[in-house]
């Protein structure tokens, strides 16, 4: 395929993916805004008022970046996982497999679709948070970079999950049993400084902690960890996951017999 044809094919997947989550907005865009409003009211206003400050900032301001990041992670992941798996389930994935599109175009198209939903939900949650507090972004570039990289990483994760999944249950196992615990324990609601040393050390092996804290640093200017190291770690994860996803796709894992 020529570069122009590749661009058309890539654009086709991306627009199809964006249209998909926009069309089913009551399932994709509405639930996070409702859930996050509840978090802001209950944890931010009601409980947060009694908590006082966390790492020197009001509790509601502390949890806003964490909740935005949590929404971005779950939405980018589940967008790609459910969309690609439903393509597999209905066998419409064969439309792509028989076409001359290179595998990397298919992968990249779904990643961009997942990133688009992650960022759309992230923007909605940010909008909701403005009803409860003022969000001042201290480092706009770093903030955008880390949220974008996180969305990319979890979109690839969702893609790998959908390739390996054999039934619909398989695409909810990782979000429920891996992503949710890691996110909740990844410093969304608390600073790891509040933990005993042992648990602080254990928390340091949680990759989501680095993403949440780097994002928080971008917005609030406070963090538990080093932002540069976190960006390097996320980059490395992206490269490893991307290579793995492309390899699985090339060998036709879960697609070809």
């Amino acid at each position: 395929m020529s570069m122009r044809q590749i661009w058309v094919a890539f654009f086709t997947i991306v627009t199809k993916e964006i249209r998909r989550f926009m069309r089913i907005w009551p399932q994709t865009l509405l639930p996070p805004s409702i859930t996050m409003t509840m978090y802001f009211i209950i944890f931010g206003n009601l409980i947060g008022a009694r908590v006082g400050e966390m790492d020197g900032v009001p509790y509601i301001d502390y949890i806003v970046p964490g909740l935005i990041m949590m929404s971005v992670i779950t939405n980018s992941y589940s967008n790609v996982a459910s969309s690609f798996f439903s393509n597999k389930f209905q066998r419409s994935v064969e439309e792509m497999v028989v076409s001359p599109m290179p595998d990397w175009v298919i992968l990249l198209g779904f990643i961009v679709g997942g990133v688009a939903r992650g960022l759309a939900v992230g923007a909605i949650v940010t909008g909701v948070s403005l009803f409860f507090t003022d969000v001042q972004v201290h480092h706009p570039f770093l903030t955008m970079l880390v949220v974008l990289m996180t969305a990319v990483l979890f979109s690839i994760g969702g893609f790998i999950n959908s390739l390996l999944a054999k039934k619909f249950d398989d695409i909810s196992i990782v979000p429920i049993f891996v992503l949710t615990p890691l996110t909740y324990l990844g410093g969304v609601f608390y600073s790891i400084n509040t933990l005993p040393e042992l648990w602080q050390n254990i928390s340091m092996i949680n990759p989501i902690l680095y993403m949440v804290n780097t994002f928080r640093y971008g917005i609030l200017g406070v963090s538990d960890i080093d932002a540069g190291g976190a960006i390097a770690a996320i980059s490395m994860f992206i490269v490893v996951f991307y290579i793995l996803a492309l390899w699985l796709l090339k060998r036709g894992q879960g697609i070809r017999s």
Binding site: K16, S86, E94, E95, P100, S257
Partner: protein, 314 residues
Amino acid sequence: MAEPALSIRGLTKVYGNDFHALKGIDLNVPQGDFFALLGPNGAGKSTTLGIVCSLVNKTAGQVKVFGVDIDTNFSLAKYHLGVVPQEFNFNQFEKVYDIVLTQAGYYGMPMREARPRARQLLEDLGLWDKRDNVARMLSGGMKRRLMIARALIHRPKLLILDEPTAGVDIELRRSMWEYMRRINREEGTTIILTTHYLEEAENLCRNIAIINHGEIVKNTTMRELLAELDTETFILDVSGPVEALPDIEGLERVAHDDSQLQLSVKKGQRLNDVFKALNDAHVDVVSMRNRANRLEELFVNLVAEQNQAGEIRS
């Protein structure tokens, strides 16, 4: 000499459970051909076609599409192919028009070029009025035609039809035959067809291969294959019950029907003699037809022979 539209050499497929679906088959489909690939269920037809269009990974062998080896430039080889699979494989919740346009996009066709082409195909296949319907609302025949429109959107040079008329009523089947004949004749599209309706293969195809247990057991022209028939069986409708059957070789009663006789005619046997004997016996023949499709008889015999040979070998 022009490269064949499809050239297969030593194609082998062994599935994980050690099932040898293809045992090193060779096949050549010339450009412009209308080719039938026949075989009983599980013979290896869909595996062969699946490998050609990359839905199945091959174990060994070589596949070339218009001279392009799928191992060296699968992308270009796939560009020449249009595929109509056996099972419905589109998103049931998408609209008919969108399904065809999306496929065009996957082939890198810009929308300004794809829209008129999609309209033309949907009109030709009687689906234009249904363009805004979601696919799951279509009848079985419409879904099959949708897959044909989708496969043709990028003007493939080789169209693979895996049982395209399964579950389609007779009238629609005939209109689909006409359409396939037209694209083969007028646009020069090479067509490979698998079907369980052997009448379909006999009507449409010039060349034929029969596959059984992962091996090609016959690969010849339709004309030569049909010439191999040494007996044809006819059903004669007679005006009333026949008391005494005239002594004609190959003539017998049809069970459960007094007004029908069955006549097996050997190659070279004169029908005039048969009818004279019937006339002398005052048997009034009202009409006459083939008992079964001619190809069907050959096919059943060939497969049975091969199965028997297999049993003896094992």
